[in-house]
Structure formats: C-alpha cells, structure tokens
Symmetry: C2
Subunit: 342 residues, 2 copies
Amino acid sequence: MSAINNFEGHPPTIQGRMLDEKILNILRNSSDSYVSGEELCKLADVSRAAIWKHVEKLREEGYDIEASPHLGYRLVDIPDSLIPSEIKYALKTKVFGKEVISYKKVDSTNTIAYELAEKGIGEGASIFAEEQARGRGRHGRHWYSPAKGGIYLSCILRPKIAPNEISKITLLAAVAVAKSIRNLSPLNAMIKWPNDILVNNKKVCGILTEMKAEQDRVDFIILGIGLNVNTQARHLPKGATCLKDELCHSKIERDISRVELARNILENLEEYYSILKKEGFKPIIEEWKSLSAMLGSRIRVILQNRTFEGQAHNIDENGSLVVRLDSGVLERVSSGDIIMVR
Amino acid sequence: MSAINNFEGHPPTIQGRMLDEKILNILRNSSDSYVSGEELCKLADVSRAAIWKHVEKLREEGYDIEASPHLGYRLVDIPDSLIPSEIKYALKTKVFGKEVISYKKVDSTNTIAYELAEKGIGEGASIFAEEQARGRGRHGRHWYSPAKGGIYLSCILRPKIAPNEISKITLLAAVAVAKSIRNLSPLNAMIKWPNDILVNNKKVCGILTEMKAEQDRVDFIILGIGLNVNTQARHLPKGATCLKDELCHSKIERDISRVELARNILENLEEYYSILKKEGFKPIIEEWKSLSAMLGSRIRVILQNRTFEGQAHNIDENGSLVVRLDSGVLERVSSGDIIMVR
C-alpha cells in the first residue's frame, strides 16, 4: 500500500488514536468555552507535552483548535473530512463503521477493502477516501473520484448468502443511499436499476458490489459507493451531477456535510441490512420500488450481444428487472445497461 | 510466498528454463542411446560448462541422467513429478497448462492461484503442488493433501459468465476428472453431486471452485482439484480412498502415473470447456448424468437449517440437483451436502 497517504501518516498506535479522540471529545463537550491545559491533562490523564502533541495531530487532521496561554484550549471548527474521529462521532450503528479506515488518496477503496477482507477484517468495516486515482465502476469502467467533494466508501459484508443473491445487497445499498440523500436534503433522489442513484435524471451515485465466493456460498462482499456531494462540475463526466449543484438549481446555495451524509448512509445500511436478515428481501424490494426512477417507463436494455426495448415492469424476488416486451412477453434481466427512452 | 519451496528454488530465468527443456528434449529424443557432450553442445547451442549446470538442475528435479566420460549423456529415467517439463511434455492443449507453475509444498494451490489471478495471470494457467499444508475443501473444510501420491491442481479460468453459472464449471470439471480416471485405468469413477468423484463409493477427488465476481459478471474462477492417486491409505481420512488402493482391490498392483493423469485432466478440461463455450451446458449435463453415482437413488439432503430425504431425480439446466420428495413435489438444491441412503 505504498501509494497510499493515510490521513494519519504511519499507522498510529491504537492508544494514540484513542487519546486523540479522548482530547477531541473533551473539547467538543465544552463546546464554545475554553478548557485549561491543567484540566485537559487531568481529564485525559496525560502530561502537558502529550496534550500538545495530540492537539498538533488533531490540527493536522483539520481541527481548528485555539490555544491561549491564559485560557487554555478551545475547539473552534471541525473539518468536513471523512476521518474516523468525525465519521464515528455520534454514529448510531453497531456494525457498519464500527471500524473506520480513512485515506487521503487511494487507487480504489474497493481494492483496499478487498485486500483487508481477504486478511479477515470484520463485517461492517468501512474504508473511506477523499480521492481515488483509479475509482472503478461496473464492468471495469472508470469512476471519476476527484478530491474535495465526494464520498468514496467501501464496506465489508459477510452475509450467509449464495452468490446469486448478491443483487439483494446492491439494491439494498441503493435504497440506503437514496434515503440518506432525502433525509439530509430536499432532493428527490431516485434509483435507476440496478445500481445508480439519480437526482433530476442525472447520476449522483454509483454502487459497485464485488465478492469472493465459493460455488454456493459468499465468502465476503465489498459494497462500494461513489457519491458526488460537493464535487466541482468541471470534474464530473457528462450525465453526472453532484448534490450541491442540484441544490443550487433549486436556489439553495449550500454545501452538504459529507460527514453527516456518510454517517447517515452507514446508519441506513445497517437498518436495511438488518431488515434483510430478519424479514427477508420483500420489504427492501418494496422500498426500492417506491424510489424507482423507471418502473412503468419505456426503456432500452443493452446486453452483451443484443439490445431490446420494452416497459420496465417490475423487480422480481431476486432483484432482477422484469421487462414487458411489445409482444407482451415478460423478460427477466439480471445484467446489462438500461437507457430511459423518451 | 515465503513459505513456499518452489521446485526450482529461486525463480529461474525463462532462458534457463527453456535451456533445461531443450537439453531434456534432446535426451528424450535419442531415447536409449547416448548423446555425446559435443553433440549436445551443438544441438543446444551452449558451452560444455552450461550443459553440465543444466544437467545438474535436471537431476535435482528427479531426472536420472547418466554421464559417461566416453559415451556422453543418456536419459535413464524420468520422475513422476508434477513439474512443468513433465506436465507440458506432449500436452495436447492450447489453453489449459499453457503456463504451469509447480511447487513442492504450499498452503493451498487455490490460494496461490487466486493471488496470481488477481495479478492478471492468463486463462488456463495451472498451479500444481506435491503437498498442501492447508488444502481446502468446500465451506472451509480441510482437504488432506499429503506428499507423495496426490495431484493438487488449481486452474485459472476467465469465462464470460454470470456468478450464478459457476456450478457449470464445477460440474464440467467433475466430468473431466471422472473421464480421465476412466481413460487411464479400469476404475469405474462416478460423480456425486456436486463436486465429489467416487470409486467403489469412496471419495478419491474433491473439487473446489472459487471466484471473484461483480454482481453480474465473473472476474475469474479458480478451479481446484484434489485427487488421491498413489496416496498411502494411512494418510487418508475415513471414507476416502486413492486410485492405487482401488486398483489393488481389483488385483491390479501398480502405481498410476500422476503426470499422465494430470495431463489427461488438463486435456479433458480443455475439451469440455470448449464444448461449454460452443454448444452450451446441455452436452456437459448429459455426460454428467451418464457418470452420476446417485441419480435415481434415495438421498438425504443436509442444508444449513434443515435436512430432508427424497430421490435424486435430475440435474437442471443450471447444475442444481432436483430432488423428488416423498410427497411427489420436486425441490431444487443448489447448495448443501448429500448422503446416499441405503
């Protein structure tokens, strides 16, 4: 992993990371007021020198911490960075994001997550990056992943399912992300089968699910999510957009907090994953349908060897798209690209 | 790969390997007669010192090469070792075994093959080992892989199929191996769904197919084959046997050439893989059925959460087992263990 710039430089000791977070939380809790150096030492149970070192570390991560010789320390501003101390702060999950690993720049978060999964990292571990040099989409396509503005996230899942059930995870993730966008903005996020999230008919998010599996048993799944949040338009390919630009079109000028959105996505993933386990795929399918951008619409289906048109009729119990051909025949599609026909 | 003892010590240069094989083939071609040192130098286009070095290398690999000061060199005996120069000699394939990598001992040939596949090694590349420290069966089970006697082989496949078609590869491999055993011995090898080869109702071979895949597209498949050929009975678990012992029970006392068998397996894999691509899965299924040890028999099916009995009725177009329950209802099984009920 030599090409990777970890946020934290060399991997920090767990103790060091815990101390960073301990000091940060003391400052967070005292909100706008100062905490004296002496008090901070007592609460964190370390020396003044150690406090200084860890405050410097937090500043490097983007925390604005004021230090006054007479008053002490004060947390002035927190960064909107996809770092463990922000993602995990007030995160209401037990599995997703229990372990967070963040990078400034990687080739692909899915690749990193895959390697970690092979080494045995637990379910729910979440890999974030601020930028991807070789972000990947379906079928080896490139996923534009510029710095400043996107959420590039890969989660490790270890469900006890057969390989042909992997679509369930993709569809579940699409529901989770669309719901999160709706939770934190007035934008009407919709899902385009199988793995795109659209806002105003433009793509804001892609989902890439990969797995290692035996013939009849999934070993692990990597759920990759690439979401354009505050990405500058000039960095996005044709047909794509970001949440900030779509808000702007609605006359709402603001950045969306990537940290809040990422947290909400982890929470929704946990909720729908738990529903899948307890109640099966049916409730997920129902949610998916209610968010679908195309059921009932005329579509063109592009397969490896042929192309055909029809009406997007339904999603079946395995997550396949059911298309009604002009002859009235229903055709199931489990792979391929879809174009909406006007 | 520090735990691995490659047959060839440090990876040899391609030139070195080619020279080994060139010298070996000159000696092979002169069969029982001597080739003078001078002639060998001329034919191989190298110095006497180089000849000596490569002859030593070949001897280390198990070739018995006689060197007489007056007569020259003579190939007295070849080893029954799963090394590239033996596997590839007179191998009638274009894809399978085009690249052969052999090890004395590995943890698992599937693990090595998986790593090589991730690094981009081509279709048909074949990894052999004389011994596996952590041979793997289905669902994380152990596969006994003692030295001296077994074929432990993993092939890399890159078919353009969906993940739910992986059973086709497992079944195809079972047909290939069963046919090879029948080709090279009078033993009546049969297939037990999904991935065992039986001789006289005892297991001689297991097949473990693993894959890396996206939701709708296989990236690569590792086809792992563990076959007990001349393995000593005391090294085999209960219910298992080896080809040599079954021959012995038929009053035929001989070792089976592992090299010949391995070559034949690669050739059969290539043939059936090519049939799958050109004619689809139907001809494979028909072969499979003709080799089935259980169609028509009463079986017990053990799934993750329940167990039931019925008659093994058929194999469907996806390679799933169709079981006829006592109620007459047909149930499809794509995963699980089968016990034959007497």
